[in-house]
Structure formats: structure tokens, C-alpha cells
Symmetry: C2
Subunit: 363 residues, 2 copies
């Protein structure tokens, strides 16, 4: 049924669909539903503490024997300097004034922990079938320990150079994250967001460059995109935004409503919410401060100063200061439960692939 | 053989491949070769005078009875103010000094004429089977005259909103120009290049939005990309960069060499060469002045002040100040004659489509 079974065989899954790990936007419920349906559910761990990781992974294990993925960030934490913090606070001060908030009362940034020895020990304990990384890979000793658990290791590449780097370090598959993708870009060698390639260009070039299976990500939200990914040489897809429409997604009503109104040309890469470029729906803070603010302190510190503004705005129903993560194909989203969505995506893709060999398909 | 014949039937061509019109980079030889091979050859007219258009079209007609396309720009010419010119000259002055050139000796910008009544009369005379526009459409009276010749009318959309606008005005097919595409972006309603969607996201959303056939463009340079375009719902593709590798392309040796060394992450959208955003390989002037220079005067005036720098640099074999137009998939380019390339692309795509229905294809 699938033209390329390399990912299915590698991960021992039935459907070539990985639910993208989206920190803060989905947990065990989303991952369980996708894994139960035959795709690969992913538990994003970067914003969880160890107890939460353990609890969430336990819930998934309890509900399905199918493989699932635990996802970790591999950024090198950089502390913001006092000068950077001050510049950022100053940049945002007019919004604090407008909201009647005290900019001295800024809380720490949302927790985004880089993969470390403790998290590695937890992986050794939980033994997820798949571990995926974002922003590169952990240090070799930790990577070896993960590998020794038997887990298949995935990571994202936004360029051919990043894909080669990952393949040289032994990943089992490369996620080709195209420009279209929502949320944080996995870029770790590349620094220039203006030179990031789209999926159509990126996937075949990565397929040509590495031996391991390639997973297409970015702008894929229905069966057409999945079929196209296979046409480009991918062995599967990773889908994020489409899963934000499911009831299992843990996003705010404001975020959900914004996604329902989204169009193709209403997202940008912005660093205002965390300090690293990520794609989200354009809102007031992006328009007025970003999309790329020179003053934003390094990841993840930028988020701290926005938190009070976000909380105040959301109280009155506004997403003006919220990170409304979205890829470029949100308009293709459908309101389905995550298991049903997974099955529908696979079924639509399969049908689409069947139509491509000279049948009477007319769009 | 093709899963969707709408474009083939509409344009009465044999292969669903349109050679992108690339002003300055290809003329009658390229268009003829592609049309003879069964694709749609395109003659870019924006940088030609009427005598040249007539001569070039005559050469194509003489060599093939197959349909061909004449392409025109529909920008609204905006004269640069003296202040804009002065700011731009000042911005480039250090380069003039370095090259020992006199910045007061700037010649007019390369001629880029917007479609007008005289060009329309020429279309009425030559009667190309297809007329394509870039940057929107001409005024209704001129469009009606083009239509009255029997020509099929195409134009590019970079967003769903632009596609709807074109469809409402009666184009026969919409070219969905994704972010990956080389050369000038056709954007005419959109102004924000940071929000431009990639092909993977753009094509299915435009297919859903308009009734007419959709042609995918951007990052497509081999059979995989063509097959993927069909998977997304497109009825054909427009390919530019891959044709720059053919001997029929009229680009400089410097440009050709740069394309042969290109990688996926070495192009950006820049306005430094013309004043409008266009994708090209990153070179010195882009790095040091762009990619988007606030001082660049409106299209096409920005090119004037660069011309002497370009000429001087190229004399010593350097492309530091040349517009090295390229999409994001130049690395997939092959050195074939344009007719052979057209046939190879179609054959590869056809084979690829055949493999997508559960055959043993393993990439």
C-alpha cells in the first residue's frame, strides 16, 4: 500500500505519520491517540519536569503497546545578560504601560530544558521505542546511552548540511523540516532564516544526501501533502499543525480560534516569544516588535517578559501577546479526534497515491 | 499517463511542463526547444523592445507549430524620487570607490517594460497560444484584447488571495509560485515577503480556492518534484532554474558556474538588484547591502546603480554584484539540452508516478 516502507519497518509502525511533538500543545492524550491509530505519537518533554515526563509516558504505556516517541531539545542554554534583559524590557515597556502592568515583576521564562543526564536516565528507564531531538543532538556520551536502550533516534534538519551532520552521527532517520513548518525551527548549524528551504526543494536534496530514511515536515496537513512527500522521496511525514485541531491538543481557546481563521499567508518566523525563530500566526506583538526583534534575548529567555502581557491579554480574550504556533497549511485543518485524523490522513494519502498512476483524478 | 490532464487539454500541449519565462536568461532558442519537445516554451518579453519581441517570436514560429507562451510584466511603474536615488547611490558609494568607478556615471536601470497597448497590439499580431503575466494582470481593456486573440491567459499567485483575485478576473490557469521559486516573486497584492508560503502549503490551498487548473512553481527541478506537484493537486508545473543549466539559457558563465556550485541554503529573496524581491544566490552585494535594502529605489530603478559595479566585477570574473537568480533546488540541475531536459523531466515524473502505487520503490 505504501510506496516506501522504510520508515514503517524502522519504527515498526503501521502508518507513516509521526505526530509532531509540540511542547505545551499536546501531551499523553494526543500521543496515545496517534500511536493507538497506528501512527507514531510523540510526547514533547522540553517543558516538562521529570515527574511529569514519567507520568505522561506512563499514561501512554498504559493505554497502548504501540511504539511512541519522546522528544527533547538539544539547544545549548545561553543565559541572557543583564543588558539584554534590560533592552528587551525597555522594548516591551510601552505594552506594560498600556496594560497597567509593572515590568519589574517579570517571572522566569517558560522552562525549556536541554537534554541532560537526568533526562537520559529517564529514557533508560522508560525505554520509548523512539527518541527524537530538536536543535541537533545531545553530546555523544548521552546519545550513546539513548541508543543503547534500543530506541530509534530521529532529529530535524532544516538544510542538507544539517542532514549530513545528523547522518554522520548515526541518526536512524532525518526529519526534513521545511520552511513551511510551524513552531520552532530545528536549525542548529544554520543561522540565516532567510535562506531556509521549503519542503519541495529540501526533501529531495536531503534524500540525495543521506542514506537513512527521510521524514518530510512542514506544510503537510492532508493526504495530498503526504502523497507529495512520498513523491519527493520521503518515507513518511511529521505533521504538527493539523493535530492542533484535535480535542486532544492542549492549546488555548484563543489559539484554537486563531487556527480556525488562519490563511496561507498569515504566519511568519518570529523570535519574539522565545528568542529562537519559530513560525506562528501573525499577531500584534509580532507586528509591532518583530517578526525578528534584535533585542530579543537568547532562547528561551525572551519568553519571560512576554508572559505577563500574554496573561493579561488572554484574560480579556485576546491573543495579541500569545505564541499562536502554526505552519503554513492551517487552513487545511479538520476538526477530528486525533485517532480519527491519523486514520483519515493515511486513508486520504493512500487514495491519493492510487489516483496518481493515470486514473481519472481531476482536481 | 498523467493523473490530471486539465492543463494538457487547456494548452494543447503533450507534457505538463511550462518552461518559466526568465527575462534576460532565455529567448527563442530555449522556448523553441521546450515547445518542440512537447512542453510549453516561454518567451520573456519584459526586457525586450518590440522589434526583438517580434523577431524572437518569429524564430519560434518558424521552428515549431506547437504552442508557445509570451510573458509580460504588469507592474505599475513607479519613478524613483531624487532622494531615493541619492540614498541608494550613497549606500553603494563605498563599492564604487573600491572599484575606482564614478558613481555619478550611473546609466538607466535595465529596461523592464510593463504590458501596454503597443505590446498588446503585438500579441494581437503574433497570436501566441498562451500569454502569461507576472505581477498581476494588465488593465481590463488590454486583458480583453489579449483574450480576444484566443490566447490562454496565465498569471502567478504567491498567496491564496492572489489566486482568487486572478480567478475572478478570468485567468485560464493559476501559477502557484511558492517561496522556493527563483527570480522575481509575482506578488502583487501581498507585500510581506516573510509571510510567503512554500509550495507544499500553497498548492493545495490554491487548488481548494479556485476552479481553474493550478500550475505548481518553485523548487521543482526533477521528476520527483513534478510527481509531488500532481500529488498536491496541481495539473502541471512551471520550471525555471533547471532550464538555466541548458546550453540554450543565455546566462553568463559566472551565473552558470555559481549555479553548478549551489546548495539548498544559499539563496535568499533580495530587492537589491531591481527594487522588487527576487530569489538569487547569495553573493557579496546581497550580504553587504541586503538581502532587503531599505534604500533600494522602486522596481526596476534599483538595478541602475548596480550595473557599473556588476560590469566591473564580471570583467574580473566575479559575480559579486550580479543577480545570480536561482530557486532553492539548483543542486538538482542537470546539464542537458532543453529539449532533452524536458523529455527527461517528463519521463522521470511519469516513472515516479508509476512507482507511487505500492511498487517496490525504495529511496
Amino acid at each position: 500500500m505504501w510506496p516506501n516502507r522504510r520508515l514503517l519497518d524502522l519504527l515498526e509502525i503501521e502508518l507513516p505519520i509521526i505526530q509532531a511533538p509540540m511542547a505545551g500543545a499536546g501531551g499523553s492524550a494526543l500521543a496515545t491517540a496517534v500511536s493507538k491509530a497506528g501512527g507514531l505519537g510523540s510526547l514533547p518533554c522540553a517543558m516538562l519536569d521529570e515527574a511529569q515526563m514519567r507520568a505522561e509516558a506512563g499514561i501512554i504505556r498504559q493505554q497502548t503497546a504501540n511504539p511512541f516517541n519522546m522528544n527533547f531539545f538539544c539547544h545549548t542554554p545561553v543565559a541572557a545578560t543583564a543588558a539584554q534583559q534590560a533592552a528587551w524590557t525597555a522594548r516591551l515597556a510601552p505594552f506594560y504601560d498600556e496594560a497597567g502592568l509593572d515590568s519589574r515583576a517579570v517571572a522566569p521564562a517558560p522552562h525549556r530544558r536541554a537534554f541532560d543526564a537526568e533526562m537520559c536516565a529517564l529514557v533508560e528507564d522508560i525505554k520509548p521505542e523512539v527518541v527524537s531531538f530538536h536543535f541537533g543532538l545531545p553530546e555523544p556520551a548521552l546519545l550513546d546511552r539513548v541508543r543503547a536502550t534500543g530506541a530509534r533516534v530521529l532529529s530535524s534538519a532544516t538544510t542538507v548540511a544539517e542532514a549530513r551532520w545528523l547522518a554522520e552521527r548515526g541518526v536512524d532517520a532525518v526529519i526534513a523540516q521545511g520552511y513551511e513548518a510551524g513552531g520552532h525551527r530545528g536549525m542548529f548549524l544554520s543561522r540565516d532564516i532567510t535562506a531556509q528551504p521549503g519542503v519541495m526543494a529540501l526533501v529531495p536534496q536531503i534524500v540525495d544526501a543521506v542514506e537513512v530514511p527521510v521524514i518530510a515536515a512542514g506544510g503537510i496537513a492532508d493526504g495530498r501533502g503526504i502523497a507529495a512527500a512520498f513523491a519527493l522521496g520521503a518515507a513518511g511525514v511529521q505533521i504538527g499543525t493539523a493535530y492542533l485541531f484535535t480535542p486532544e491538543a492542549t492549546i488555548s481557546d484563543i489559539h484554537r480560534a486563531a487556527l480556525h481563521g488562519a490563511a496561507d499567508d498569515q504566519t511568519v518566523l518570529t523570535n519574539v516569544f522565545s528568542g529562537k525563530p519559530a513560525r506562528g500566526l501573525i499577531n500584534r506583538v509580532i507586528r509591532e516588535v518583530g517578526p525578528i526583534a534584535a533585542e530579543a534575548p537568547p532562547f528561551p529567555a525572551a519568553g519571560a517578559a512576554l508572559a505577563p502581557l500574554k496573561a493579561a491579554a488572554e484574560k480579556s480574550g485576546s491573543g495579541d501577546f500569545s505564541s499562536l504556533w502554526s505552519g503554513q497549511a492551517a487552513a487545511l485543518g479538520r476538526d477530528l479526534e486525533a485517532g480519527d485524523l491519523t486514520r483519515a490522513l493515511a486513508s486520504d494519502a493512500s487514495q491519493r497515491l492510487g489516483l496518481l498512476t493515470g486514473g481519472p483524478a481531476q482536481d
